[in-house]
Symmetry: C2
Subunit: 477 residues, 2 copies
Amino acid sequence: MDENKSFVKEIADIKTNFPQWYTDIVLKTEMVDYGPVKGTMIIRPYGYEIWENIQFELNKRIKNTGHKNAYFPLFIPYNFIAKEAEHVEGFAPEVAMVTHAGGEKLAEPIVVRPTSETLFGTMYSKWIKSWRDLPLLLNQWANVVRWEKTTRPFLRTTEFLWQEGHTAHATKQEAEEETIKMLHVYEEFMKNVLALPVLVGKKSEKEKFAGAETTYSVESITLDGKCLQSGTSHYLGQKFAKAFDIKFLDKDGEHKFVYTTSWGVSTRLIGAMIMAHGDVRGIALPPKVAPIQVVIIPISKKDEVKEKAENIFNSLKDKNIRCELDERNQSPGWKFNEWEMKGVPLRIEIGPRDIEKNCVQIQRRDTLTKEEVKFENIDEYVLNKLDEIQVAMYEKALKHLQSRIKEVHSFDELKEAVNNGFIAKSMWCGSRESEEKVKELTTATSRVMPFDQTPFDDKCVVTGEKAKFVVYFAKAY
Amino acid sequence: MDENKSFVKEIADIKTNFPQWYTDIVLKTEMVDYGPVKGTMIIRPYGYEIWENIQFELNKRIKNTGHKNAYFPLFIPYNFIAKEAEHVEGFAPEVAMVTHAGGEKLAEPIVVRPTSETLFGTMYSKWIKSWRDLPLLLNQWANVVRWEKTTRPFLRTTEFLWQEGHTAHATKQEAEEETIKMLHVYEEFMKNVLALPVLVGKKSEKEKFAGAETTYSVESITLDGKCLQSGTSHYLGQKFAKAFDIKFLDKDGEHKFVYTTSWGVSTRLIGAMIMAHGDVRGIALPPKVAPIQVVIIPISKKDEVKEKAENIFNSLKDKNIRCELDERNQSPGWKFNEWEMKGVPLRIEIGPRDIEKNCVQIQRRDTLTKEEVKFENIDEYVLNKLDEIQVAMYEKALKHLQSRIKEVHSFDELKEAVNNGFIAKSMWCGSRESEEKVKELTTATSRVMPFDQTPFDDKCVVTGEKAKFVVYFAKAY
């Protein structure tokens, strides 16, 4: 039990200092480490395997909705970024610039991509000639760079990994449908793979993407009641089409500008998941993305125990369950702590007494409940239990989210809600000034305006003017 | 047939202008396009799917040999590159440098990674404490940047995609074994997945990696008889361990430097494959990596033909065969040309007469031979034929390679060989001066010294001095 304490000592208290708990736990579980250039991160194998699982699941969904993957360059000429006025205003302050290469000063500086609308726009203008070329539905998995002042592993880093979809359509309606379709792909993916419930809706004018007509977002919630923008889908209208001259010959013989969209999620999803599923023992990973779904811990060094543990391991492996047999020279208690901290969904313990009874003890990470399972039932039990855990973790997170939404009717109520880890569901006039006032006085921001806009009051909670929107105000990471 | 000609017109003659044929074909098949920043490329879906298939197959092999994936940052402080003397000498002239970010001039310039030995070295020095932490076997899939003077899509580009493995070991022997093991993983992968035979061996002192003790390489051959360095595996000894202070506490209680290796292959493999398997009609793709393995072309617009074509498509799809049904409004001849150019391994033609006979016509891309296949046998025929093509393409390429190796006994013979598209198998003294002389007078370079060093002469083919090595001299892309 001493070893247990020493573990906990290095990790901040989850109740009283959640942000520090997060940073401690992602480092301690060896998911991530700091890179030498400020704000960069090394994604270590235990973190990267989560990303590989995310990529596998999301990539399937992106392809099943008709998109193809491509790879566009890291480097963008500076003048490209400047072609769309709002875009450059939003991104210029955050870009990293290459000014020297091959031992010489470059004639024109090059931007390390912060996002790739300008590059896709340039190529789409070259590739798209006729309505037959539409819709053009591409996606890429890539690294991007944004020079951020304050950073936190996975959540906000100088360089991060993401996917960015870029599509071009013949009509406004089709582009709008695509924007919403991909938003819902993210919502479904987060629910079924990451066990994350989300608030879904439209961003305010102030919070939308630089260059978008409309930005939609999926917002997850953290254990301390803050929001996390976890994925965005942008309807770009004809803004980039006009800036990059993307035209097509329509069926009616006329040349028209296309309508474009873009949408993305990043390695931030890993942080979102950790911030939603942890407890005092560490993190808890949903089975669908856990690098190790089952850990087998022999309780004794006896040959018969070792042999049985290996049998169980091989049998689970054959069923494509990601499992690990921990035969390290450490006490079972030390191992229990380590794997609970690392969030492995199921732990199988096997000792001499279990062998006598032809069974093992299996503990769930999410509920910490333990059951005795007969040898012959292990594989089936594990397969079923992993599915059960996946669903249970989502339901638990959903209850948490629902319990953290508070309908507010005055600015005081709003303030009290966001200061106490609640999301303030508010009626709002929609003005930029009122949004800035909320931020200044509470540090909370508008998160999304949900699709269900049924009003529950007629006055704006900030200004007292006539309310136009239902909106969620909350603090955010 | 007019359409056939117009196709060919845009593509240079493969026999008389192979380098131009290559560039024409990769653009025309929509595998790649030029990016706006000099030397960068856009990998379009038809090229990127090949890369995805390469990643899938190679990643399995990398994981099966005990390596784990991670992700290290794009950005490296300039002073890191300078820590290993030979490394900086080799890479400094090619790096791209970020000097401004977030609207400010940086205190120290940042290098966009050309390769990541220095970053892995830095972190390994932090992570490795004891013999228990060894071996440390990591790999990453990433983009890298090298500022090249002359570029060619896939073969040499400013930015390219690759995997780079970096491992640390307790002993010299173990590190050397790892270096050779991964070289053979590449060899086997290229044989069985890309249908590419290779020359395997050690690089000369002049051609080895900047900072390596020994570099090994797999070299493929092009249709015009040049070599292409397609993958390298480096034994780095303790050079990086000493430059980055990577030490471990050994079992005997002493602190020792580790031994490291690194190894990589890149998107160049796509170019290597295209340069090895094309003909006057275009490229030919090995089934294992072809984005489309089977294309189905209805010869008529009749309902019964359409329906049957769809049935065949769905049935093949169910067997996880990557297939496409081409129902575009073009003539069958036009489609035949297009898919032959794009290298699809099998083409299924189905028309009204075939329906009467309950069969289809199936043509192989590699041999251009055609067979009639009964409806009920299509799936099995296709599965078997794809395997057969995979092997046949390798055998054909192997014969080509073997026919292009010429044993030479004098400098004149060497010169004649390399000037006529042959690889000159030579006895060599190993001196840098002699290698430079060969390059100056023939533009050929030493490719590899094969593992089989059985001498066939005692004099160096360049200097006439005592020969020490068997080496292949050849021109290279």
